[in-house]
Amino acid sequence: MLHLTRHRYLYFAISALVILPGLVAMVLSTVRYGTPVRLSIDFTSGSYVEVGLPRPVESEEVRAVFLAQGLDVASVQLTEGNRVAIVRTQVIDMATKGRLMEALRAAFGEVIERRFDVVGPSISQVVTRNAIYAVIAASLVILGFITFAFRKVPHPFRYGLCAIIAMVHDILVTVGLFSLAGLLWGWEADTLFLSALLTVIGFSVQDTIVVYDRIRENTPRMRGLRFEEIVDHSLTQTLHRSLTTQLNAMFVMVALLLFGGASIKQFILVMFIGLASGTYSSLFNAVPLLVVWENREIPRLFRRLMGRKA
């Protein structure tokens, strides 16, 4: 048996170290863009135009064509050797789009329309609202489910709440790093990012439940042992499984990152970070937190800190 929970405050410190830069990034992002992560047109409304061009271009050339059509250009991004231009601009109606494509063809020759998205404000408001609802609904359903599934162990609500804390940890890690990427490389959260986040939440809880299940099984069998020891036994027994499963998911995600299409790279990377964080938080946050709670360490810690000050 490994005494895994002994170093629980070290694990919490590591988590804090990862989350802190993300939180700082979220504050900076809020100052600069008004939101903790940069939002794509899915949430803010506007247009996304991705065109393939016959020759390498400069972003100013592309911007000029858009401005000539009377369009505000938020950003121009060039990829694939400056042969693909991604332009973010205001909401464009179909007639304007036709004129725009003609102007692009006049300026650059044979222009291939790769992607063209327009999202109006009425849609983006609904998306934002429902996104928040979806996360809250998922948390409540999972809290209820765990409390129900572990109704036979003492304090089932603790299990549910610690799983939710681990889940919030994963959300903070993922959103924080995404926010950082937004500041550094201009990453924008879209509905895909949201799906990735929700998947991370699902798998984070799945990992936590596997360890919880072992504690549930061991509790009646190891009646003489302290709770901390039962937890250590359970963690040791499930450690192999947690790492092996994580490894298999990593194989697939690395394959997708290396060989998959460019349009899902961000999505996969978010998932990759989220799943890694999910495994970590299950083993090193959710489960040790149970021990902290059982030993009533928080009030003791609090008293000690207060005592030192006084």
Partner: protein, 504 residues
Amino acid sequence: MAGIYGHLVEVSLQRRDWILLALIVLLAGVGLWIDLASPAIAFWRAVPEGLPPEQARLIRSTTLRLGLDLQGGTQVILEAQVRPVSWSLSRWATPEGVAGFVREVYENAAAAGGETMEVARDIINDRVNGLGVTEAVVQVQGANRIIVELPGVPDPEQALATVQSTGFLEFVDTLGQDLPPGTVISTTYGLTAAEISAITWTQVYPTVVTGYELVSGQIGTRAKELTGEPMVLLGFNPEGTRKLAEWSRTHVGQPLAIVLDKKVISAPIVREAITDGAASISGGKMTWREAERIALLLRYGALPVPLTVVENRTVGPTLGQDSVNKSVVAGIIGLCTVLLFMTLYYRLPGVLAGLALCIYTVLIFALYKLIPVTLTLPGVAGLLLSIGMAVDANILIFERMKEELRAGKALRASIEAGFDRAWTSIWDSNLSTLLTCLILYLFGRSLGASMVKGFAITLAIGVAVSMFSAITVTRTFLRAVYGLLGPYLERHTRFLLGVALERP
């Protein structure tokens, strides 16, 4: 530690297992047949024209459907515009003002009503089909939105213009013929006499009046006095009244077809000459629903509500094809890596789990085709991720099996104990993922984010099928192998299972 549970009944290979094995092989065979019945990655348009309908349906039902982001195309969300009602006090001074207020409130209620949206959807569907887009999807979403998906349309701007245009309404003399609703006809409107006589291949029906001569304010439905049957009321302007009076005087007892965009909606019989420009349609077996529908079509000439584009997503065909190719390559590499790892780490059970994983993949694709699931790009990612995750249940079981073996339990008992003990954790953890999928699905549906919805569906199917493949299939395989090679397995546990059995 696990030795405390020593009471497990040893299960030998029974007839039940052989039947199960046969069923699994059969299922895998059927799945494989469905997978190979048509190209694994085929576009909707791959169904050739002119095939008999049953054959076309068979091809379509065995073709993997690709979302717009993978095959290219346009998705548009149209929103019904509800005019804000003015509540200003001055309106209440005159009877017209009050009437106007009542009408606006009524119109807004009608615009938000389900019936109105369904009528609009049907009209858009007709127009889209008229464009020759065969596999278009037109759906009502929520209270006031319509989603139009046009796969592989080369000119989405023009398609959209057609979808949004005002339809053309005519009242047509059927020349005494009985034209059932839905019939597409030619009419004389807008043609010169010479052009009409030049058309010899089909009957050209004379247009009596057009939608321009209708007075929309006088259109509505009412219950007929005495019988209470539904009745559609309509009124014409002076020009229309004159034309209709002239025509109806000589055509009593004959049908007058209401035609929208050259398609017959209804063909009521003229019972008496209509001289005052106020007509009513009733009788037959017309229900209130149909009456409302006809009234809506008459009032708006076409779309019962003005629709504006609130979202438009277009993906060019090259980008989609590129994504498909790359995802297939990435998927195969990912799957092979998982198979290799499982074999090296878990030995014989790992090989069997790999076999179960292959069956899993076969079944997943067959299900996608049968349900059918429209595969989007995040859907592909969800599918590939679920392949990585499908082995999770196997890992739980095998780890448990190794524990039992190390604790000194006999091989056969360890196998069964592995499955038994791992069950609760597999069930609880997968159930929580399924619950998350459900929330994702509802979330995706409520905003028409078909990408999110597609991802939730693929992940949920993956979780459900993985429980079958990782538990039932793997256990049956293991039992079969043990039944055939039991003694050999016992002797070579270190090589075949990665655990050395301590012999007494």
